[in-house]
């Protein structure tokens, strides 16, 4: 367990400060492998001391982007700047960035100490300084007692810490983390996420993490870039991405979402009226990004936890009401998920927090229920 030490996280938003220069800059970067375009004309700024996450499914180009920063791949077009300096042509062993590998890549024929000291030896640091730094690093990851062990004599969690210590030992300008917690079980993963955040705060370094796990990205990072097919679908803080998804792709990839398709019938001061013929309902909601015009095909997106479910019909005249029949109930412990089948056959999910221990819930299978939500709970997304 880690004690609550270190500075308390203040509001940190360098990306909103126009006077600051970005620390890492991907400038119109394209990477092609034969016919396959892994990264497509991508521009991205990351600021100093930021904990930045690249989130996306496998094959979206996030790992390629990171490997280009580390120097293992060269951009086909565009360039990458670090602290104002163009990195092109600089081999990986001369870049001031270090990487923590998904497989950890611990050298099996060296001890924990030997692994951590490896990078420092390459720098030509003298022996006494190396041993001081190694001791510091071992303390940081709480592995002092394991210095003389070989990697195969460690548990998965311990190996992960050695890998972290090794990549931090050289005090790189940027630490790259490639799916760093993927091999750990759920409990250890959550614990380690918080440790990573503390270490990042303590050392004041810029961290760039690649992950396909949205919870991990949302927990650790200041900002997230959601990637798809080599381009960035959205950049923002965790709450921006979750609450104001810029596209159907982002809404669908990050968290759970209900999407109800329809045609725009009116646009009035940011409020959009959507006629959903499929479920025989009219929905009024805020417009998302992009210009919404009357007659356009669009969808109404709302998170399940924002949908209220009730056995009683709301007063006549209440806007945004859907009615249906309970099709399925999933009990997850902390919450229950209700899958409600609407008139047209489509399914809408609603989650309810289980605030009491009573197992018998009033709403059960085949009940006729009404679904409502606050006016600003959902968003209209264009197709």
């Amino acid at each position: 367990m880690i004690e609550a030490v270190g500075p308390i996280k203040r509001k940190f938003a360098p990306w909103d400060d126009p006077t600051l220069k970005p620390f890492i800059r991907f400038e119109n970067v394209t990477k092609r492998f034969g016919d396959f375009t892994a990264v497509d004309n991508l521009t991205l700024d990351i600021y100093e001391r930021e904990f930045f996450a690249l989130l996306g499914p496998s094959g979206c180009g996030k790992t390629t982007l990171m490997r280009m920063l580390a120097g293992f791949e060269q951009p086909t077009e565009g360039r990458i700047l670090l602290d104002g300096k163009d990195l092109s042509g600089i081999p990986p062993y001369k870049r001031p960035v270090n990487m923590m590998f998904q497989s950890y890549a611990l050298f099996p024929h060296m001890t924990v100490e030997g692994n951590i000291a490896f990078g420092l030896k390459q720098e030509g640091m003298d022996t006494s300084n190396i041993s001081t730094r190694v001791a510091e690093m071992l303390e940081l990851v709480k592995l002092e007692k394991f210095a003389k062990r070989k990697p195969h004599q460690l548990s998965g969690g311990q190996r992960q810490r050695v890998a972290l210590a090794r990549s931090l030992a050289k005090r790189p300008k940027v630490l790259l983390l490639d799916e760093p917690l993927g091999a750990l079980d759920k409990k250890l993963r959550e614990e380690t996420q918080f440790e990573l955040m503390d270490i990042q705060m303590e050392l004041g370094m810029t961290f760039l993490i690649v992950t396909h796990d949205q919870e991990e990205a949302m927990t650790v990072s200041d900002r997230i870039a959601v990637m798809n097919h080599g381009v960035i679908a959205q950049i923002g803080t965790a709450s921006e991405i979750y609450e104001q998804p810029a596209s159907r792709y982002v809404a669908d990839f990050v968290g759970d979402i209900n999407l109800i398709d329809g045609t725009v019938t009116a646009v009035d001061d940011g409020n959009v009226t959507l006629h959903c013929a499929g479920v025989d309902a009219t929905i009024v909601a805020e417009a998302g990004p992009g210009e919404v015009t009357v007659g356009a095909e669009a969808g109404f997106a709302i998170r399940p936890e924002k949908v209220q479910i009730s056995l009683e019909a709301p007063p006549v005249g209440t806007p945004n009401v859907l009615s249906g029949e309970v099709w399925d109930i999933g009990y997850l412990g902390d919450i229950s998920v209700y899958r409600v089948r609407l008139a047209g056959g489509s399914i809408v999910k609603a989650t309810v927090a289980n605030l009491t221990r009573i197992v018998e819930r009033p709403i059960t299978w085949e009940d006729k229920v009404y679904l409502t939500w606050p006016a600003d709970a959902g968003v209209i997304l264009l197709k």
Binding site: G89, I90, P91, K94
Partner: protein
């Protein structure tokens, strides 16, 4: 400038050297000899050099002397039925031995793959071990066993199956060659088969049994088809070198066994006819090109 040296030039040179050294070695000592053998097979017997006395000054001189080429040696090969039947006999012996090897090797590989996990490595070791000991010695061991006055005769006489004056006449026949080949090449057949069978997921057989397939049938519909890559690799690994085999037919086959490796050897060492032995080698190579290419493609896929 120095920066450029360490960043661009040095890695490039290192990479280039890594490729170039083994590449040039193979070009010089593997590919070039084939071109020379081909060239010599087209030259006159008259300018052939007697062994141990190279009469050629330099490479240029050597090539110049070979400039007038002739197909005489190949014509000679077709005129003498000895060569023609030696090729056919080699292919026949290689084919029969490969089939025998498969029949003998499959049950061994199967037994190894089904043995308890703790034993398997030791069994693999036990199959490899004879392969590490001299080929020549292993063939030699069979001479003492197969000779007319050898151990098999003695064993059968003492069991009363043979009379005191009767002998087993296997030595210096094709049967002895088959025994020698199967014995010497067995590891080359067993190991690829074992590798394929060991990979086979045991739950596949359980699934087959669960779906009502009896064991003998599931062998033919599941195990054998899935072990085919091993069967193919093993067969090629045995067949190709057996065609050109020299030691086994020479030591166990006697004069009545005709194989092309022996013919080439005799042509070279006894008749000292280098152009004809080169022609023999070229034809053998042409015969083997197809199986070698198939084998290599198979290797690449694996």
């Amino acid at each position: 400038m120095a920066e450029r040296w360490t960043q661009d030039v040095k890695p490039f040179l290192a990479k280039w050297a890594l490729v170039a050294v083994p590449y040039l070695w193979s070009l010089l000592f593997f590919l070039a000899p084939f071109l020379i053998i081909f060239k010599i097979s087209l030259s006159q017997t008259a300018i052939a050099m007697p062994p141990y006395v190279p009469v050629i000054g330099g490479l240029g001189d050597f090539l110049a002397k070979l400039s007038d080429f002739t197909f005489d040696n190949y014509v000679f090969l077709t005129e003498d039925p000895l060569y023609y039947s030696a090729y056919l006999s080699s292919l026949r012996i290689a084919l029969v031995s490969t089939i025998l090897l498969l029949i003998v090797g499959y049950p061994i590989a199967y037994g190894m793959a089904r043995a308890p996990k703790s034993l398997r490595n030791a069994l693999v070791m036990a199959v490899i071990l004879p392969f590490w000991t001299s080929f020549l010695i292993r063939v030699y061991a069979w001479i003492g066993i197969l000779k007319p006055e050898g151990l098999i005769t003695i064993a059968l006489q003492s069991l009363g199956i043979l009379g005191p004056d009767e002998q087993i006449h296997v030595y210096n026949t094709e049967i002895a060659v088959f025994i020698g080949i199967v014995y010497s090449y067995l590891p080359f057949m067993v190991l690829p088969l074992y590798a394929a069978l060991e990979k086979l997921d045991a739950t596949l057989l359980e699934a087959a049994a669960d779906l009502g397939c009896p064991p003998t049938k599931s062998f033919w519909v599941i195990t054998f088809p899935l072990s085919l890559p091993g069967v193919i690799a093993g067969c090629f690994l045995c067949f190709i070198p057996i065609v050109g085999e020299f030691v086994i037919p020479d030591l166990l086959g006697g004069s009545e066994t005709l194989m092309i490796g022996k013919t080439l050897w005799a042509e070279f060492f006894n008749n000292r006819d280098w152009p004809v032995s080169s022609a023999v080698a070229v034809v053998l190579l042409i015969i083997l090109v197809v199986p070698i290419v198939i084998f290599q493609n198979q290797q690449k896929k694996a």
